[in-house]
Symmetry: D2
Subunit: 259 residues, 4 copies
Amino acid sequence: MRVLFLGDIVGSPGRKALRLFLPGLLEEFRPHFVIGNAENAAGGYGLTEKIAEELFALGLDLLTSGNHIWKREFLPYLARSERVLRPANYPEGAPGRGATVLEKDGRKLAVINLEGRVFMRALQCPFRTAAALAEELRLETPCILVDFHAEATSEKIALSWYLDGRVSALIGTHTHVQTADARILPQGTAYLSDAGMCGLRDGVIGMDRKQALEMYLTQVPRRLEVPKKGTVKAEGVFLELEEESGRALRIETFRREES
Amino acid sequence: MRVLFLGDIVGSPGRKALRLFLPGLLEEFRPHFVIGNAENAAGGYGLTEKIAEELFALGLDLLTSGNHIWKREFLPYLARSERVLRPANYPEGAPGRGATVLEKDGRKLAVINLEGRVFMRALQCPFRTAAALAEELRLETPCILVDFHAEATSEKIALSWYLDGRVSALIGTHTHVQTADARILPQGTAYLSDAGMCGLRDGVIGMDRKQALEMYLTQVPRRLEVPKKGTVKAEGVFLELEEESGRALRIETFRREES
Amino acid sequence: MRVLFLGDIVGSPGRKALRLFLPGLLEEFRPHFVIGNAENAAGGYGLTEKIAEELFALGLDLLTSGNHIWKREFLPYLARSERVLRPANYPEGAPGRGATVLEKDGRKLAVINLEGRVFMRALQCPFRTAAALAEELRLETPCILVDFHAEATSEKIALSWYLDGRVSALIGTHTHVQTADARILPQGTAYLSDAGMCGLRDGVIGMDRKQALEMYLTQVPRRLEVPKKGTVKAEGVFLELEEESGRALRIETFRREES
Amino acid sequence: MRVLFLGDIVGSPGRKALRLFLPGLLEEFRPHFVIGNAENAAGGYGLTEKIAEELFALGLDLLTSGNHIWKREFLPYLARSERVLRPANYPEGAPGRGATVLEKDGRKLAVINLEGRVFMRALQCPFRTAAALAEELRLETPCILVDFHAEATSEKIALSWYLDGRVSALIGTHTHVQTADARILPQGTAYLSDAGMCGLRDGVIGMDRKQALEMYLTQVPRRLEVPKKGTVKAEGVFLELEEESGRALRIETFRREES
Ligand SMILES: [Fe+2]
Ligand SMILES: [Fe+2]
Ligand SMILES: [Fe+2]
Ligand SMILES: [Fe+2]
Ligand SMILES: [Fe+2]
Ligand SMILES: [Fe+2]
Ligand SMILES: [Fe+2]
Ligand SMILES: [Fe+2]
């Protein structure tokens, strides 16, 4: 089974990057499933129903997310959508779902979305949540992908060792910078600390760099905007899984950018 | 010289508390200067020009603030107002001023506003900023009041020892809970870890407690609102300073609440 | 039922404060149970078996703790002791216990120790943990005391509203500064944001103030020591509970210091 | 001018990695200067004089560092060494130096070490510190390398835009995971979010993975150890600078690991 995973899609440049590069990626990798992290897809903060539909129309099968998904007006859609995940380790009472099974042409891929706790919110244990969900989903399919939306490399790597052999792949998101550590762990789990992002190449993790600098220099908090113009890029990771066992056979990162 | 200092004024219940109790406090303590922290005066987050004027009309001479003062639409007023302070240890480029000298009937009181760094923003060193400002302001008056808007008791107490003998009083704000540690340090600086707040008594630091609980239980971030109804209280501290030396002669906390 | 609770006992000055003032406190309040937070009792960081025994010999029935209790060499004692609690909301696998029932002369007092998560570790939800334990302990006794070792006033107050009517008292610890907000909530739960500390009066939350200032001024991390000499104080809270219902009848803070 | 920069060297496996792979790297890249971040070189935490000398003997010209460098017993050496840097943006009073100029065969390379503030300590502004040091060092040489030891990608990228054209290269360290974003910015500054690490391949950022998992699962704090055995790797970045202008001509990451 072939899976394409896109790093955090940031604002309109992120969506533009998908329009530009996704067709070529689909042709090249011929994935059975396409997934992307959409926590920043709407103006850099959160998601909207309209933009979710736009992303599905571009060919994404499922959207994962993270700390930025909780905009009030999006919650009703999040609560009812079967194609948008939020991290599974939010406690009871948080709307939405954190895991699902995608099915297409007889192939089944389970996806778990998790959020880290180091430098982030006081969520349920992502280690235990992941293990319990993996065990449950395994009853349906051995092909299980985890999007671990987290800040600290230490937490990401620790979880990868914890899940090695229990899931097919653990892909990190949230830092918006693609890492160079793609590998397959001894028990067959593919790992990458961060998939990178789809969006503006010359901003600060996708946002206006002038505004980001103003914020860092004055420490006055401000909402950063996503510039409408500028070179865009699409980053992510391609996975190939052995369908019977769920073992990862191949993991490969990619980056496409405007010339 | 007598000074009345009011803890964080939170939303309309905070302003109501001042309308109810400030007249009595003025009568009882007969302060020469009245100061209050207004970082939460407008709906719990920040301040507006209209509400600043409302507070001045109630008898406040100066408003201090903290981490919540930086609402975009308030910045022009903050930049030009001589009666609203923001923490002095924001770096160059942040609008507004962090210290001033109040003058009334020949009496001069210098006020310095600072923000802590433990669990807060990466500001300039509050210790050095305070020492430099105190030295400069001392040329005008030995009566110097510091509002140290900070989270950690450790940082507040450490600064009080650092400034003992250099300022008349160091009063903490930000936690919205009045502490029971008012004292005068050996070199004459009055100290209190936190002045408390003016606002709703039965909320969560002035905000809606149902919403606060929802946030703690689900970890889903949300804007908390200030309830319109409910018992209000006014908390703060009264100081008496020796005018020639600037030494604190007396420090006394107060709380007034609706019966 | 009368209960005496002592705030964080810090190093040898903290133990000295108990030797000096506990006899008088016992005489004055005639408590049935005496409890103290001992997370800093050994040199300011953690606890040892020897010091635990010293505290029991002084008249304490139970020691609670917090984030500083986890010194490696103390874990075996923590694992087997029935009279030292660590926060109950550490996940499975952490040694020690987080709640217990004290029994003396036919009276039973349940005690729950919890740790906050705001600016602290990624523990289990203290709200749910407290509610579940309270329900369970209530089968044995309606008199339930909670030591909530936490930093943020917001989290402490939110938990007090959540537990109002389910426990007899929620007393905060960890900031080492006594707060002035003791009250009994509408459903009968006594509340205080922080009990204060037993230890050196003129340090920085019980530690050497010169070292603390060096750390704040240089940002170079260092272990702070507890000075051997200096004026000591004992702070805490006295509670009176209705035995049949567990409702709080009275809450009163105290401070005793060397003259 | 050719420069080889090695990511965080972690414990004895890190030193072993240098023994194994540095000779080959020197042969391949023929660098004029070799620099490595040694904040974790001694047992995973900090550095010692003995280990610093061992690293110099292996061919390193200069050691940079970060948050872990401040072990008490190392400070005297740090204070006098001309070949070990600590982040330059610690305030006055911190021992050691934060920038230097290396000179060899008539070539001069200035090196600045900085530490980030997002999720880290309350240091001086790294942006302003870097700009001031770059201006000063430029009087000696236009070839300036910055090791920005920081956690957040946002802060690292923002600083790279701020310094573009003012320094030859900004290389991030601290996360121990090499990133895939090496590039040369429009004004000639080479950039990489993180150089990666030299140390154990199958640990958790170089530390024992069993211990790391125990810590994440129980939240009980513990000192992590560096395993003595296991496959090692060396990661870093190679830079080529135009000597007259200081502009980066080439940036290339590398990884060498035991087969
Ligand atoms: Fe993101
Ligand atoms: Fe995120
Ligand atoms: Fe406030
Ligand atoms: Fe505040
Ligand atoms: Fe403590
Ligand atoms: Fe504590
Ligand atoms: Fe490191
Ligand atoms: Fe580091």
